[in-house]
C-alpha cells in the first residue's frame, strides 16, 4: 500500500523527467540532413565542374571611384567577391557567381518582375539586391552598413560591366585552370588595421 501511494505521487514527476530527457536527446539538429547529404561517398560536389573560373569575373566588377575603394575578397571556382569600402568601413559586398553549381539560385528569377539594366532582378532578404545575366551569372550587391540603402545597391549593380558579362556565354570555355596555386615567393604584405567588416 505504502509503495503504491508513493508510486502514484512519483509517477507524474517521472513522466515529466522522461519527457524532458527525450526532448533533449531528440532536439532536431536543423543542419543534420545537409551534413549527411554532403559528406561520405558519392556526395555531390559543392561547385559544378563546368563552372566558370572565378578569375574570369574580375574584369566585370566596378572600379573604385572617389573615396570608394574596391578590395578583392574571395576568388574561387564559379565565384568572385569584392568589398566596397569607404574610409576603411565596409559598405557592401559585391559578387558574381555561376549558378551552374546552384540551379535554384537561377530559378528564383523565373517569376521576377523587376529589371535592372534590362536584366531580371530580385530582392533577397533585407540586405541584398541581385540580377541574373544570360540565365546563368548572378550579380549581387549585399549591404554591410545601414547607410548603404537599396538605391545604393541598385546604383552599384549598374556599375558592373553587365554587357561584358553577357558576352561571356557562348565564348568557348577557357581551358580549365587548376585550383589557385600558392605563391612560390612570399608576398609583400602591408596590413592596414581597419574597422570590423
Amino acid at each position: 500500500m505504502f509503495l503504491t501511494r508513493w508510486l502514484r505521487r512519483l509517477a507524474p514527476l517521472l513522466v515529466c523527467l522522461v519527457l524532458l530527457v527525450t526532448a533533449c536527446s531528440t532536439a532536431p539538429d536543423k543542419y543534420e540532413q545537409v551534413q549527411k547529404d554532403t559528406t561520405g561517398f558519392g556526395k555531390p560536389a559543392a561547385v559544378a565542374k563546368q563552372a566558370e573560373k572565378g578569375g574570369t569575373f574580375n574584369q566585370f566588377f566596378p572600379k573604385g571611384e572617389g573615396d570608394y575603394e574596391l578590395i578583392p575578397s574571395q576568388e574561387k571556382k564559379g565565384f568572385a567577391q569584392y568589398k566596397l569600402n569607404q574610409d576603411g568601413t565596409t559598405l557592401a559586398m559585391l559578387s558574381i557567381n555561376d549558378t551552374l553549381s546552384l540551379p535554384a539560385a537561377a530559378a528564383k528569377y523565373d517569376n521576377a518582375t523587376d529589371k535592372i539594366a534590362g536584366y531580371p532582378s530580385v530582392k533577397q532578404g533585407t540586405t541584398t539586391l541581385a540580377l541574373l545575366v544570360n540565365g546563368r551569372y548572378q550579380v549581387k550587391v549585399l549591404s554591410r552598413d545601414q547607410s548603404f540603402t537599396e538605391a545604393d545597391r541598385s546604383a552599384w549593380l549598374e556599375k558592373f560591366d553587365l554587357a561584358g558579362l553577357a558576352e561571356l556565354e557562348g565564348v568557348p570555355a577557357p581551358q580549365a585552370k587548376k585550383a589557385p596555386r600558392l605563391p612560390k615567393t612570399a608576398p609583400q604584405r602591408n596590413l592596414v588595421p581597419q574597422p570590423a567588416a
Partner: protein
C-alpha cells in the same frame, strides 16, 4: 567523419583563458573584435538577415561548401588547429628548458631548444601559416599581385585580432618590442636541420610551399622579411611594450610580470587563439560566400 563546421562554431568558448587573453588586446586594437560565437548567430551578424528560412539556406550552403574538401576550407581549419596544438608542444619544451636553466635538471638543456630559438621558429611559422590559410580560404583574389596584397592588407575583426595576438603573445612578450630583428637574425642563421627539429614546423610542414626543408626555410624567411615592416609599425603605432601587454594579462595570470619566458610558454600551452579566431574567420568567409551564391 569530417568535423561539422556548425558544431565547431557553436562550441567556440564564450569565456576562458583564450577569450580573456584576446580581450586583453582590446586596448591595442579597440573595438575590432567581439567574440562572435554560434553558427546561426554568426550568419545573422555577418549578413544582417534574420528571416529563419534565409538563415537556414545560408547555413546549408556554407556547410556544403565546407564539406567539399576541394574548396580548401578544411585545410585552412587543419592549419589553424595544428599550428596551435603544435606550438603548445613547443611551449612544453620551452618550459622544460626553463626548468633546466633554473634547477638541477640542467641536462634538459641538451635536449630542448633554447626558448628564444624555439619562439623564433614558432612565430615565423605561425606567420607563414596565416598566408597559406588565407589562400585556402579566399583563393588568390584579384587580377594582379597588387590586388592580392590589397586583399591581404584589408584585415579586420578577428583576422586583425589574430595578428595582434601573434605580434603580442608570440613576439613582444617572449622576445621584446624589437622582436622582429631578433627573429630575422635568428632564422637567417638557421639551417634546415634546426627547422626539422621544431614541433610547430613538423606539424604544418607539408602545407608550407617548398620542395624540401631548405626551400621551406627560404619561404619562411622571405615571408618574415616582407611582413616585418608591418609588424614593427603595428607595435610602434599601438604602443605595445612587454609591460603594457603583460599588464593586460596580469589580471588573470598571477605572477606573470616577473617570469616573461614562463608566461610565453604558458600562453603557448593554454591559449588557442589561432584556432579560435581561425574558426571565426573561416565561418565568416564561408557565410559571405554562401549568401552571395544563393
Amino acid at each position: 567523419m569530417s568535423k561539422k563546421i556548425y558544431e565547431l562554431v557553436d562550441d567556440l568558448p564564450k569565456k576562458g583563458l583564450t577569450v580573456m587573453a584576446l580581450n586583453s588586446l582590446d586596448k591595442f586594437v579597440p573595438g575590432q573584435w567581439d567574440n562572435l560565437v554560434g553558427f546561426d548567430n554568426t550568419i545573422k551578424t555577418v549578413t544582417g538577415e534574420t528571416d529563419p528560412t534565409m538563415v537556414q539556406a545560408i547555413g546549408e550552403r556554407a556547410i556544403t561548401l565546407f564539406n567539399d574538401k576541394k574548396e580548401g576550407y578544411q585545410r585552412a581549419l587543419w592549419l589553424y588547429q595544428t599550428v596551435d596544438s603544435a606550438s603548445g608542444m613547443l611551449g612544453t619544451a620551452a618550459l622544460a628548458n626553463r626548468i633546466g636553466q633554473d634547477s638541477f635538471l640542467g641536462f634538459l638543456q641538451n635536449i630542448s631548444p633554447k626558448p628564444e630559438k624555439a619562439q623564433t621558429i614558432d612565430l615565423s611559422i605561425k606567420l607563414v601559416t596565416e598566408v597559406v590559410a588565407f589562400c585556402h580560404i579566399n583563393g588568390i583574389p584579384g587580377d594582379s599581385l597588387g590586388d592580392f596584397l590589397k586583399s591581404l592588407g584589408a584585415y579586420g575583426s578577428e583576422s586583425l585580432m589574430r595578428m595582434a595576438a601573434l605580434v603580442t603573445f608570440d613576439g613582444v612578450i617572449p622576445l621584446g618590442a624589437d622582436f622582429s630583428s631578433k627573429v630575422l637574425t635568428s632564422i637567417k642563421g638557421m639551417g634546415a636541420s634546426d627547422l626539422e627539429k621544431n614541433p610547430t614546423f613538423k606539424g604544418v610542414k607539408k602545407e608550407i610551399p617548398g620542395d624540401d626543408s631548405e626551400s621551406k626555410l627560404a619561404f619562411i624567411t622571405e615571408s618574415f622579411e616582407s611582413t616585418r615592416g608591418w609588424m614593427d609599425k603595428f607595435v610602434a603605432d599601438k604602443g605595445i611594450t612587454q609591460s603594457s601587454a603583460v599588464d593586460g594579462l596580469s589580471g588573470f595570470i598571477e605572477g606573470s610580470k616577473s617570469k616573461l619566458d614562463y608566461l610565453g610558454a604558458f600562453l603557448d600551452i593554454s591559449v588557442k587563439y589561432y584556432e579560435h579566431t581561425g574558426i571565426q574567420t573561416l565561418s565568416r568567409r564561408l557565410i559571405e560566400r554562401a549568401v552571395a551564391e544563393l
